[in-house]
Every structure is written in C-alpha cells, then in structure tokens.
Symmetry: C2
Subunit: 539 residues, 2 copies
C-alpha cells in the first residue's frame, strides 16, 4: 500500500470538506435572511471546523509530500474508504462545535454529530434532529452544511463509481455500457473524462432542480437544500414535515413541487451513464437498458398496487383532510381532490422516495395497510440503478440474483445443459459473476440479521415505551432501522416512521447505525479492504 499517496489524497479530501463548509457561512448573515442572534454559534462552529479541516489537510499533505502519482485499484478503494471515515469525523465538527440541539435542551454529543455527518455523506437522510424549524435549536448555516454533506456524498459516490468502473467482471457487469469517449487515450485519461462527464451531469441536475424549485416559489435556501437532498438520494429536508410541508404553505402549489421532486428522484436513481447517452442524442440506450427498464417497471407496478390496495383499505382518506387540502381549500385554490388522484399523488411519491433510497416523505406510510408497509420495506433492499447516487443493493444485482438462481435450479436437473447468463439478450457469462452476486446477497443477509439481533438486544425497551410506542413492535421497528440505514434510506416504520427520527436511540446503537450506513454506501467490499491486514503490507 502506497501510504504517502494515501495521505496526499486524504489531505485533499480534508481541504475539500473544509472549503465546502464556507458555503454554509453566508446563510448566517442577515443579508441572506439569517438572524445573527441565532446564527452566531453556528457561524463560529463552522469557522472553527474549517480551521481544523485545513489543519488536518495541510498535515496530511505534508506527510504525503513524497507520494507519487501511480494509483492502483487497491489504493483507489482505500482512499475512498478512508475518505468516508475522515469525512464522517470532520463533517461532524460543525454540529459539535456549534452546540446544535438534538431536542430542546439537549445538545448534540459526539456520537450524534458523527451520526448526522455519516447520514449526510452516505446520503441516507436519517436524522437525530427532532426540530429543524427552530433556529434557536439548529442554526440555518448548520442546516445548510447538513444538506451540503448530501451533495458531497453524491460526489463521493461518483468518484467511487469511476474507481470501480470496468474493474473485474463484476464491475463490468454492473456497468455494462463502456463509457463512450476518446478511445485513443490512456485508461487514466478515459477515467478522468468519465469522472468529468458524470460530475457535470450531477452538478447540472442539482442546478436544474434548484432553479425549478425557485420558480415554483421556494426560497433559494430551501431550493438548494432540497435539490441537494434529491439528487444525492439523501432525504434531509429543512422542515420537520419533510416535503409535506410545502403543501401546507399558502401560495405554494404542493402537488407540483412534490411531482417535480419525484421526477428528479427518479433521475437520481438512474444510471448517470445512461443519462449521458441521452444527452449525446442516444436516448434509445436508456430504454434498451435492462436495469433501467426493470427499475421503471418495478416503480410502476408497485405504485399501482400501493394505490389500488391503499384505496381499498382507505389508506389515503386522511391525506386530503389533515394536510394540504384544507389549506388549499381555505386558500380558495381548488375543489375536493379526487380520491384516486390523491392516492396516486401520495402513493407514487412514497414509492419513488423509498425505491430510490431518498427518504423524503409526503405521508406517513407506517399508517398504510400491511401490504404497502411490507412492500416498501422490501423496496428498501432494491434501491436505485448501478451508477446512480441511489443506495440499496441496486436493481442490477437483483436481476443477476434471480437469473442466477433460475439457471442454477435448471442446471441441477440438466447437468449437461450449461446456459450462459444473459442480460438484455447479451451473454455475460462467467461463473465468478454468479458467485459474486450470491456472496454479496449472502453478506447483506448476514449483516442484516446480526445487526438486527444486536439492535433488539442492546437497545433498551425504553426507546419504545418512553415515547409512546409499544415494545411489541421492537422486532419490526428494529428490522426497518437496519434496512433503512444499511440501504441508505432514512425513514422506516414505527419509532423511525416518517414523522419520527433517530434521536432516542442509545449511543452504542447509533454507532452501529453509523457503521451500517457506511457499509451500505461503500458496498461492503470497499470498507472491508481497510480491515484486511494483508492489504496494508507493501507490495
């Protein structure tokens, strides 16, 4: 392992994080709508964090001053893994130094700060902050930093993606499309080209969504924060009611804002390479892609089922009544919403939000019927497409998993017939790939089960009973906590339902959540590389 190079690159990451914090500072100033009295501590905390970041960065650059430019795969994976650890620690400083309040009267401790930071960088969107709307508890500049971590996390995913691009058969199968580009260049140059293209698409979509939200009446602050939360499939909002907040504001068109965000969540869960193909006028690449087709079909089918079964169980009856509608009616904006339209509006949003692993909410799906609750819990494990900012296991892995099972069962009875695994008609054979997919599923199941058992054992019952929840729900709630953090979603069922948060969990379990978010985001293997001693030996 080339340690000087590692230090050099990590120093760069630390400085990048410190620099990014600067963008939070203006929101503390009165000229940008900040109330200095509330923002003072946040401002000081951010500045202090920046100083520490730069100090760490300069220190690491000094240690790595002799690092050369040769970056091998092992180093690339180690850099990404360690960057995430470093980002979690440094990104948590502003919360800690500003003394932000978790709930009224309780300041965030170190574990809380790390949790919020990891949740941001891993684009999970799980929060320990129970009141975002009181600037006395959470300063606006800290809120902006919180959403910025989503943007940076999304960037990190793109870097990770480029790093594994075309590496090994599994990487190739996950990518499928070779990145079009100047073919006479070196692989290094191609990688840089790819990284730039993906970055520009990501930044472009963030900008486009922010502009649209501005046009739809949001403030610049809200527009930027929600654009970051959407395009990174993060899910941090600046309101306690998440996206549902906008429907309650007179003058704002709630449904329009919701559908805009839903559309961009769909894009955020799409392979960015495919979007590039569409941009260079090859739109058929997207429709021809088996993963994207499956992704779209799953969303459509599940939405249809959630809407149909939800209408039968009257799941959406309250939606028009206790939010949105009454305000809109009071505002004289419109007539009684149609039940079906209402159901589609809320059903589609929740399904897209969970499937893309964003975690924004416009309704509390914990109140839905059992099918909807169950299927949303399963969708958490599906996630977005490979090459998107979405989390979860990724659609392509599920396709490969079921195809592998099918082929293996068939082969058990016809040992003489060996059929290759096909993706969209193309054979993508090798036996390694089949095994790798099965191993990945096996690891996820093992991590899920062990984490679940730890959570139900270690977490005291008081987390449920002291906050109005029945302890009988501990098994399900814990399962959704694990699913929602491992797959980088955020909300789940029960104690972490759409209107709840992670604030009441005990510190050991919060630390477990932090690791799980990182494991999920880095797809296990990248993180494991840090713990295999052999990787650290030279050569």
């Amino acid at each position: 392992m080339n340690k000087p190079l590692l230090c050099k690159l990590l120093g760069l990451v630390a400085m990048l994080i410190g620099g990014s914090m600067a963008f939070g500072l203006p929101w503390a100033l009165p000229i940008c709508g900040g109330n200095w009295q509330h923002e003072q501590e946040g401002f000081i905390g951010l500045v202090g964090s920046m100083i520490i970041c730069f100090a760490v960065g300069i220190g690491l650059r000094y240690l790595g001053r002799n690092g050369d430019a040769q970056l091998f795969r092992k180093e690339a994976m180690a850099v990404v893994g360690l960057s995430w650890v470093l980002a979690t620690v440094l990104g948590g400083l502003p919360y800690r130094l500003s003394g932000t309040y978790r709930t009224a009267g309780v300041r965030m401790n170190t574990v809380d700060a790390m949790f919020e930071s990891q949740s941001g960088f891993s684009t999970t969107g799980a929060t320990v902050l129970s009141d975002l709307e009181d600037p006395d508890l959470v300063p606006r500049c800290i809120l902006f930093w919180r959403s910025s971590t989503h943007f940076l996390g999304g960037l990190g995913i793109i870097v990770l993606f480029v790093a594994i691009l075309g590496q090994g058969s599994a990487g190739k199968a996950l990518m499928r499309a070779e990145m079009p580009g100047p073919s006479h260049h070196t692989p290094q140059a191609r990688m840089q080209h790819t990284a730039w293209v993906l970055f520009l698409i990501y930044a472009g979509l963030n900008t486009a969504l922010a502009v649209l939200l501005l046009l739809e009446g949001l403030s610049l602050f809200d527009a930027l924060c929600h654009a970051f939360g959407t395009m990174a499939t993060g899910g941090f909002s600046t309101y306690n009611a998440s996206i549902a907040h906008f429907a309650t504001v007179p003058g704002l068109n709630g449904p329009l804002i919701e559908m805009t965000i839903a559309a961009f969540m769909l894009l955020a869960g799409t392979n960015f390479m495919l979007m590039y193909m569409v941009l260079i006028f090859k739109p058929r690449a997207m429709l021809a892609d088996i993963e994207w087709r499956t992704y779209a079909v799953v969303i459509l089918v599940v939405t249809a089922l959630v809407v149909a079964i939800g209408l039968y169980h009257h799941d959406f009856d309250h939606c028009g009544a206790d939010r949105g509608k009454t305000e809109l009616l009071a505002d004289g904006a419109g007539e009684q919403p149609l039940p079906v339209g209402n159901a589609v509006r809320y059903g589609l949003f929740q399904v897209v939000s969970i499937m893309t692993t964003t975690g924004f909410c416009t309704d509390d799906f914990d109140k839905y019927n059992s099918f909807a609750r169950g299927v949303l819990l399963l969708l958490m494990f599906v996630g977005g497409c490979a090459g998107s900012t979405g989390g979860g296991l990724k659609v392509i892995r599920h396709i490969l998993f079921f195809k592998t099972l099918w082929l293996e069962v068939e082969q058990a009875f016809h040992p003489s017939v060996v059929r290759p695994l096909r993706l969209g008609g193309e054979p993508v054979e090798d036996q390694e790939l089949r095994k790798n997919v099965l191993v990945y599923f096996g690891l996820i199941v093992a991590i899920f089960v062990i984490s679940w058992l730890l959570t139900i054992t270690v977490e005291p019952n008081a987390t449920w009973t002291d906050h109005g929840h029945a302890v009988e729900h501990k098994l399900v709630d814990a399962a959704t906590c694990v699913a929602a953090t491992l797959n980088n979603i955020g909300p789940g069922l029960g104690v972490i339902g759409a209107t709840k948060n992670y604030t009441n969990f005990s510190p050991p379990i919060k630390i477990l959540f932090i690791w799980r978010m990182m494991l999920g985001r880095l797809e296990i293997f990248v993180l494991l590389v840090l713990f295999v001693p052999g990787c650290w030996r030279n050569q």
Copy 2:
C-alpha cells in the same frame, strides 16, 4: 422417467399409509379407553380412509405391473416428492371422512384436512385443531392417526436421506461420514443396509421414549403420541397446552417429563449416522463431528443467553405462578422453585424445541423479551443436523455458508491465495459446493420473502382483529408463520403463538402453508424436480 416403476412404488406407499391407519382403530374401542359414542365417526372415517388407500394402492400397482427394478437418482427423487403429495392427500382423508371439528361447530374442510395431514407428514406440528381435549370434537382414534403421521413422516425423511446419500459433492458434504458397512457389497446393498440401520435407530428411540414416558406415569396413548411427536421433531401433542399440560396434572413429575422429552428432542436433531457410530462403540465420532459440536454449542449458548436476559427482564416470573408450581404446591409436592432453576427449565425447553424444529411448548415464548423472541425466530432457520429428522436449513449448511462467505471475502483481496474450504480440519473443496450452499440460501431467502409478501397481502386483517390481535403485528406474525412452516417447526409469534393455532387463516393462505411445509421438508430441490418438464421425458 420410468413411469411404471413410479406407479409401483407409489402404490406401495398408498398401501403403507392405509395399513398404518389400522393402528389408530383400537383406540376407538372401549377396551383401550375409547368412548364409542364419541369415537364412532372417527372409526368409520378411518376404516373408509383405509379402503380408499388400498384401492388407490392396488390401482397404482396394477398400472405399474411392468415396472422393473432399476431405480435411478431422478426416479428416487420423484418417488419421494410424489409420495409426499400422495401422503398429504390420503393422510387427510380420516380428518375429512370422520368430520372432525376444527373448532366447536366448524367441521374440517378439505383444505384443513390437507393442512393437518401435511403438517404431520412434514413433521411440522402446526395444527388447525383448536381443542384437542374434547373427544366430541376430535376422536381419540383420529388423534392417534394425527400423531402417527409424524412417525411416518420421520420414516419418509430417512428414506429421502438414504436416497440422496452420497449423491454428488453436496450430498457427500452434507453426509461427511461414509456409512460404515460391508464394503464388498454393491451400492444398492449398502443403501439397503444403511436404510435398515437408520430405521432401527429411529424405531428404537421411539420405543425407548415411549417406555420412559410410560414409566413416568403417562398413559400408553399419550406416551406413544408424544414419542412420535418428539422423535420425528414433529410437535403434535394430545393436549391443548402441549407439554406444559403434564406439569398441571397432580401426581406427574412435570420437570422430569419435560427434561426427558428435551433430551430426546436433542437426539432427534442429531445425525442418525453419528448415533450409529456411538452404538458401534465409536462415541468419539460424535464429539469429533463439527456439525454436532456446533449444534450443541449453539443450543448451550442461546439457552444461557435466553435464561440470563430472561431473568433480567423477569420473563420467567409467571412460569412458576400460573402453571405447574401452584398445582405442585397444592399437591404438597415441593417448595418454591428457584428462579434460576425455573428459568433454565423453561428456557432450555423452548430453545431445544425450536432449534430441533419440534415445536413442543412448555411456555409462551411470545411473552419473552425481544432478544429471546428474535433469537428463537432466527433459530427456526438453523434447524437440526443433516441426517436427523429435524427441519430448517440444517446446521451444516450454516457452517458452510459462513465459511464460504469468509473465504470469498478473503479471496476478493488476495486473488492469488486460493484456500480450500475445511470442515473439521479436512479440506472438502470444490467450487460447486460453495455455490450450491449460496444458491440454497438464496432460494430460501427468495421463498421466504415472496411467501411473506403473499401472506400479508392476501390474508385479511380480520384474522388478527377478530381474534384479539393488533393488525400492526401482521408483518412480524406473518414472518413467523412463514418461518415456522418453511422450517417445519409449528408455533411462532402472535396469532400462531405457543397457545394459538392456524385455524383462523383463510383457505388460500392455508394452501400456501401446505406447499411451504412440503418445500421445507423436501429441501426445495426434490419438490422442484416434479415441475421441471424435462425430467418427465423418457431418457
């Protein structure tokens, strides 16, 4: 596929089932304690069922009169698979023809009868009968037939085991020990020898337990029924309170009976080949066996944890109070039981009962703390040792699963180092085996998830709300239903808790349960062979 041979063998199975029904008849007679008034319908139902079984058997033998003696693996698997289907149908006849009552006033319909029959043959022990103690509802002779299906199911498992013995690498790994026997004989002769040895051990243990229970004061009827339920890891009792009943009977030593049954459950979950080794004075084979050691350690560790955490949560405080103790005290039998002794008594029994997939109960573990509930739910997927009558995934598959994951993760970082998979020090390499274990886990996860989703979607909420259960528990309860049937256990949590049963489920879901019990028992592949069209073509 050699169809005449198939018919011939299936005819034999039908006649065997018919013949076995005869053993139920005496219990209807006054001389054996039957009250003819209650037993009349049961007797007629049994006789009618016997006639149908023999008619079917003779018909099948006639169809297969030209079948030759060559039995290949494919035929063996098909015979086992089809026998199970045939047994389910024929074994359900006595319930249907005797008009046994599911609950007071509701006679068993065809689905109920098939469910009870499949539950017996697959040694699951899930029941739709809500009152076993009223001979007006369930005649004694039918109750005996019900327990006999466990005995026959256990026999079927032994046949299945011999059929797959040494077939392919997976079969070899599952077996590990080559069966010692006359080595100069043909494979056919060795197979027959193995089958006889295993049968004698099985029958011997059944007899031994029945005699012990007789000596401990049970009636012959109860002793036989509970011996069948124990040694087949079935779980059908003749009392509503399952094994907990005996502690409430004055004059019986509840703890002694419970520990006797627990000891035999442990044996029933042990590889029968290892018991043979012990019988031929090679007891070290058992202690040296990695699977048996793991099995024993898991039971010890989980029991210790359930007892310790249960004492902390006061899970066992009620045990002494509302059952057993008061009666024993009233009987002047003894002093106040020690809390720890009490906890060990109840904790050990539930853990052994679930781990071996028997499903007998002396306490309602749904009332335990979350850790105990969760860990028992997980133990359902572990099950007994390969080569036992236990269900579940089997301990050896879990060992192979975790070893494979470990080796694969290691190999991802050291592609040059290829280490073989070792079991108890011996390398059992091949790549096929690793993949097969992963495929098996994948199939179980897929079946579990799909069944769970179907159950929560199709089963009406009324199954919960009409019977005093909160519909919010549907997700967990459905998961335990799936786990308890797929792994052939019986009881689970909530609506199917230790004191509940499957009577209230809707017919479509009962049919799903029937399939799942069969899938679990036949370890998926044997059943799948019936649905692969290519297998039915000649040559």
